[in-house]
Amino acid sequence: MINLKENTCPTREQRGNGLNAFFGKASELIKEVKDGKTGNQERAFQQTSGCLLNFYLTQRVMTIHDSVMIVHAPVGCSVVGLGYREVFRKVPVSLGRTDDYDFHWLTTNLNEKDVIYGAGDKLKHAIKEAQARYNPKAIFVLASCTTGIIGEDIAGVVEEIQPEIKAKIVAIHCEGIRSKLIQTGYDAFWHGILKYLVKKPTRKQKDLVNVASMLSYTWQDRQEITRLLAKIGLRPNFVPEFSTIEQFEMLSEAAVTAPICSSFTEYLSKGLEQEYGVPYFLYPSPVGVKHTDEWLRSVAYYTGKEKEVEKVIAEEHDEWLPKLELINKEFEKIGNGQDINVLGSLGQGRLLTQVPFFNELGVKTPAAICLDFDDLVVDETEKLIEEVGDFDILVNTFQAAEVAHHTRRYNPDIALTCPFQGSAYKRDKGATRIHSNRGDARPWSAQAGYKGAIAAGNFLLQTTKNRSFQKTMLEKTPDVYNEWWYQQSDPLYFVNKEAK
């Protein structure tokens, strides 16, 4: 139950019994989560891996058209926003990027005086400044650890000043200290969207499909989803990146909310159903041929396109299945009778999409590494195990030392690292990125839909053809950790096993 009268969402710990550390079989994980035995744990060794504010929000909220992002924080909290004028520029206008956009963000740049006397007036002034300077349609106010600790009443400020401000102000309670699970930040964002921006539907748009996705799905993925939906007479409503305020307002008018990353979308999907009766599904996402089939069928079910969709799927299979077969054959050839093992560092949402996709390509995933886990997608994970069988899973908020340990232990043929995972690429065997980002418009980097399945399959094949960089760097540079670390049997050696 989502309560939009509240200033913000509950944390993933509160709402989803979320956890930040687990090592074992996926089936055991599900059992523990269902039994409510899990919970967050404390680590005696921990590495920086993102917070509610600084995993996603400061990079992308300002890419919403006609909006201003105000980061109510000391100056360093918004520093990743410095890419804001360049982020989508490499996407050609011919691929559907609009040219008439202009992003802005402000920092309240909290100083020593503010933390003593409070910064409510300063925030008010920043909101006025944003209105006067840019005349936006929406102003997003993002909270920080510092505003949380000094007790800033952001919702109060917003309520008080809204009558003076033409733009709709959206308060987002993404204080880093709120939760150990960064996905709480997604929910806090969607809570703000649902509470302040989404309008009551004036009409239902039967051909409109809401698609909310993380930055980790590329521009080509948007193109592919648009193409496929268009073939059955539907239109996507992509949020939040690079969308207009009107697109948020009309989320309530859509026929269905479809996932591309289930965990990212979950709060929004449930909120739209609860408040406006927009149906949703969370599984599967359109990654891999089979899951794209099912995704399209699910969308078609809610939009009355069941007949049309079968025709489209058949057409697409004619085009893409022969290409998939070529990829399968090549992996078979490389494997030479042995399985090719792939180990990926994945978000909870990607876990559900990527593991079956690897099977489809003809590679195996005996183990996976997952950012965090909660019971909000537990049914979907059960479906996954039914589909691909049980596997080992390490849930660890992408702790780099644990990832290094786990990777060394499983020694997969190909390790897929999350961007910015330190030295994880240094290996004797295969290593590459798990994904690119939204600003990447190259067909090469696609992952979603049929086109993306083939592109991603070929991308994975490409990694097997030359290992010189990762091997050389492994050989020529020292390891970050003492050898003692790799001799421990448990990658969660530093986790205090008593749940907190």
Partner: protein, 444 residues
Amino acid sequence: MAAVKEEAQLFPEIIEAPRYSCAMGGAYSAALATFGSVPILHSGGGCGFAQNFGQSFASGLNSPGPVGGASTPCSTLVEEHVIFGGEDKLRKLIDSTLNLMPGDLYTVISACVPNLIGDDVDSVVSEFKDRASIIHVKTAGFAGNSYKGYELYFDAVIDQLLQKQPVKNRTVNILGVVPTQNLFWKGDLRNIKEHLNKIGVEANIIFGDLNGFDALNRIPAAELNLVFSIWGINPAKKLEERFGTPYHIFPSLPIGPKDSTAFLQTVGHKLDIDDAVITKVITAEEKDAYRFTEYIGNVLVVAIPHAYYAVVADSSTAIAITQYATNELGFNPEVVIVTDDPPEEYRDTITHNLTENLESVLKPNVVFEVDSHKIRLLLRNYTVQVVFASSLERYISEKELGGALFLGVAFPAYDRLIVDRSYVGYRGGLNLMEDLMVKYGGPL
């Protein structure tokens, strides 16, 4: 787009996209640039991660190095620590880090959260003094910007690590080249060291030295400290107080033969080096540099002769670029926007260094501005052919400034990879011209 209001603002520190991070970000960057040291963040979980994108990647698409980014130990403080304190968590984190990660020096950097909740970080850190070399840099993010963090890093190093030692003649420390905020810090420091080496002076560049811990420890042995931006002045003053090391302030690093010669002559004079030695070096270097400058003549004269130009950069980069572009390339400076928020006391000197000793008839308008939106509006008042700035100005140069040639010289630079590149020294200007003209290249 609405014009910026002219009246004095109630809260001038509310800004669009300032070109620096916080004090924690600056201290963390300095720690990562001290090779062999392991930073330990006592902070929220996103602090290091944010600097990964916002301080390292933003500085010429750089990785943060082996112990940076997701590899950096961090206490990842949340509500329970805010209530019960974070000291115990830090204690465990330091202990585990010492077991897990080899290092010569461990640098605990405390950020906003512990400073707001009043953790006694010094006392936790002191418990480990007998197990490893360890220091504490107290840097609440709200204490200032990245440049302030650079100063605070030196405060901690000087107060907690350095020991008095015999002075070694003809050795100098290089101060004021701020890692990551100076995009070219790695190449520039190497370059300065090589130039000084030519006149028999040994330079301790500290950052980027393969043995960073040794480099820090031998700081007090220098005969002279050379300061290359206003951000090196406080560390230099503190070193003078503590160890009696004199210092000399250069307004910037030298780009091109003229400034390089002046630089070597000044150092030679300060360290009593025989004039003949200096003259021999500068004569040979100038001859070499200008012989190769012949190769840029045609494209310069045909493509951008006497170009009007704008600079948007931190104070020392702005000075270096303005001197070179005006006095060597024959360009005409229209406007220089200084973006590192220098303290008031230094602003007249900076303006002086940007407007005096120029061979052009024109003197640039000097504006101190940190707000990227205001900078954009300001730039629109000028007609220029070249923009030396940060990558924030890249698309503005193309679209709003009449297709001016753009070169990224200042933080942030998301549009180019910078590892070894440097514009410093006799041949540095040639590198600058190579990079600038990439944007022009093509048959006439």
